[in-house]
Symmetry: C2
Subunit: 410 residues, 2 copies
């Protein structure tokens, strides 16, 4: 990986994202591990492989309520030997001409090779008060039987280390008896908003000032990706006032700075970070909003300079800072699933840059409308959106019904 | 809404989901409110409308680093009067023939009606050591100016009550100075797994037994949707042993029961719930897995009987229990965005039922592969999936490249 060459040109967002992933993977930070009770582990990143403790299922189980039979006896009339329920022990082998009433999840007896659903069976009275079942259809061997080990063989990998645990993984861990789970520690992420115009949320801003919405927004994004946000005091646009905040931020596992990264004369974040030993891997991406996004590292600490307008910070966090944070948190794979929806209203943009613009998905996700947006400073517009549309750089217009990729809002 | 008629027929999943939404909306439970610090409010449901405390922006702001000008003077040469930065007060009105150097976010002076980006300007020396800028292009009035109130007028609605707060909403709340936020209390959701075959996660199951993976899975799902899970002890399949658990569960804001809702002889959950006063609104849905899913209510408490196989419980939770929980938690709108991806491998199913089957989305979300699955009891398969594909009931096969709707795993 030759960072030097790539850093001088302007990258498209996929290249920039891949560069973040490549660089952070090579930082090789030691990641601490803690043990959590299973009920606390949802959303955390598993720190060791988990294997099947036995075959799953552990014996042949019925997939339906019905009758265990020998397929070769059907169609025909079979004598009912009794019944077996889920939670009961496996019964002795089925004999020729016999059926065993069986409930979903119950063990299938040896010599039975199929289950006939109760809906396809007629109960009739047999000789001497016995019960028989009349089955008019042929069945295939194996039907409605869950073979031993068919879901997982003993010892096979169930959930790999580096997996962020969703409810399905939690189910698998419970299945194999994991009452406690080793997970990676959550990375501490410093958040430093910069800008002379920014006052605290509790303050009454003058007309030329704005409250610090970015720090809280970024803290929410960090939490959503499994990090522990640490909000630093807002830093004004001078090197002397920036330096202590940046220094403090660099002691965390990752540093997010918002603002001060454009080409303007008072954009001092990058020069000051350089003075502190940060090497930048890219300083510009061919997207809007968020074009001046910068990514660097100092030692093993990834550093992001996110453009200060909230729309830019939001988009560049999801595209670039999120995968870095996921990797720092021990996650092995970074997903950014951009599925597609259809425009419910016509949409145009100026080609040349890929744009991530606030949009509203319908409740069923099938239709998308772009939000009227004043640009990346427009927080009210951001709050009306539930997604970002991804307008490709090579295309100018979309008609109603045209498909478009969508980035779900974190 | 005539629940009686609809409950006797088998609903498709959209009808069933809508019925859940209609019924729960009419339960009109009193929902408590608590006040949280802004940094705690992410993911919670806002309990009051939040309006703009002033115009946004509060004055005309520059959207770029450049020069504030009068559009009618261009192209031409203008004298540079000085500069204004973000965080500085608005300067006196621009005079004819003047330009004011301006930074992104800084206040635009009166009488200026456009900003020219710094990239399109040549600095030249003027008479008597003054600085001038030469601008070779015409500009449109309004260019790169964010007009006062264009994002939001004072008093306009920014975030509506009933909104689950994402990072964009948090940004808007910070912008208007909300240091604390009224949010709805999180509903308490009782979780009761039933079945004679189920032993605790800490136990060593015999071959015919399985550990209780459902309670932990459902707890994770409940947490993900903003509820507070309360796990009840596993209940065996007898009315006497079911009743106390169900009674206790009915004292919560919502009750989830897994297992015991099929047509089998030992499926006693619904009869016992009926004895306790539960009215069922539907007892079957035309889907797989999860067809025997039942939805009822007792008083103002929604009750779900989820089929006990983990795949069935998972799917029916997302389709039916999730919207109920969202509404109980004060959320005003229930989203289920089923966006589309393309098959990376051919796929077939038996038409007649809509199937929600475990699938794997590629990292970029463009491609989908179905997971080889033994059926709804197959937890390892569920753990390999990161999504469910939605196989429509009227279609049999999909080729590589065909599109399909996708339900993201919670």
């Amino acid at each position: 990986m030759d960072c030097t060459i790539r850093s001088v040109s302007t990258l498209d967002w996929e290249q920039a994202r891949q560069l973040v992933i490549d660089v952070v993977k090579e930082l090789q930070r030691p990641s601490g591990v803690e043990s959590l009770a299973l009920e606390q582990a949802h959303g955390r990143v598993l720190a060791e492989d988990v294997h099947a403790d036995r075959d799953y299922p552990a014996l042949r189980r019925s997939l339906r309520d019905g009758f265990a039979v020998q397929a070769r006896s059907l169609p025909g009339v079979l004598g009912v030997r009794g019944e077996v329920r889920a939670g009961e022990m496996q019964q002795s082998p089925l004999q020729e001409g016999e059926a065993l009433e069986i409930m979903t999840g119950a063990p299938v007896p040896d010599e039975a090779d199929a289950v006939v659903m109760v809906e396809h069976v007629t109960r009739i009275e047999g000789p001497h008060g016995t019960i028989q079942v009349k089955i008019d259809r042929a069945v295939k061997a194996g039907e409605w039987i869950n073979e031993r080990g068919s879901e997982a063989a003993q010892g096979s990998l169930l959930v790999a280390k580096g997996t962020r645990l969703d409810a399905g993984h939690i189910s698998a861990l419970a299945m194999v008896g994991k009452t406690s789970v080793p997970v990676h520690l959550q990375p501490r992420v410093a958040i430093l908003a910069t800008g002379d115009e920014i006052v605290s949320v509790a303050a009454e801003p003058a007309a030329h000032q704005i409250r610090n919405s970015n720090s809280f927004m970024l803290a929410a994004l960090v939490s959503a990706v499994g990090g522990r946000p640490e909000l630093l005091p807002v830093a004004p646009d001078t090197r002397d006032e920036l330096r202590p905040g940046l220094q403090r931020g660099l002691t965390c596992d990752m540093l997010l700075v918002s603002g001060g990264v454009s080409a303007g004369r008072y954009d001092l974040v990058k020069p000051t970070l350089r003075e502190l030993g940060t090497h930048f891997h890219f300083e510009k991406v061919r997207i809007q909003p968020g074009g001046p996004c910068a990514f660097g590292s100092r030692g093993s600490t990834p550093v992001f300079g996110l453009p200060g307008n909230p729309g830019s910070s939001y988009v560049t966090f999801q595209l670039f800072a999120q995968p870095a944070l996921e990797l720092l948190g021990g996650q092995s794979e970074c997903l950014l699933p951009l599925l597609t929806a259809r425009f419910a209203a016509p949409f145009k943009h100026r080609p040349g840059l890929t744009r991530f613009l606030p949009a509203k998905l319908s409740a069923d996700g099938q239709h998308l409308t772009h939000i009227l947006w004043q640009g990346s400073s427009d927080v009210p517009g951001l709050a009306r959106a539930n997604a970002f549309l991804v307008a490709d750089d090579y295309r100018e217009s979309w008609a109603i019904g045209d498909t478009i990729r969508v980035m779900r809002k974190l």
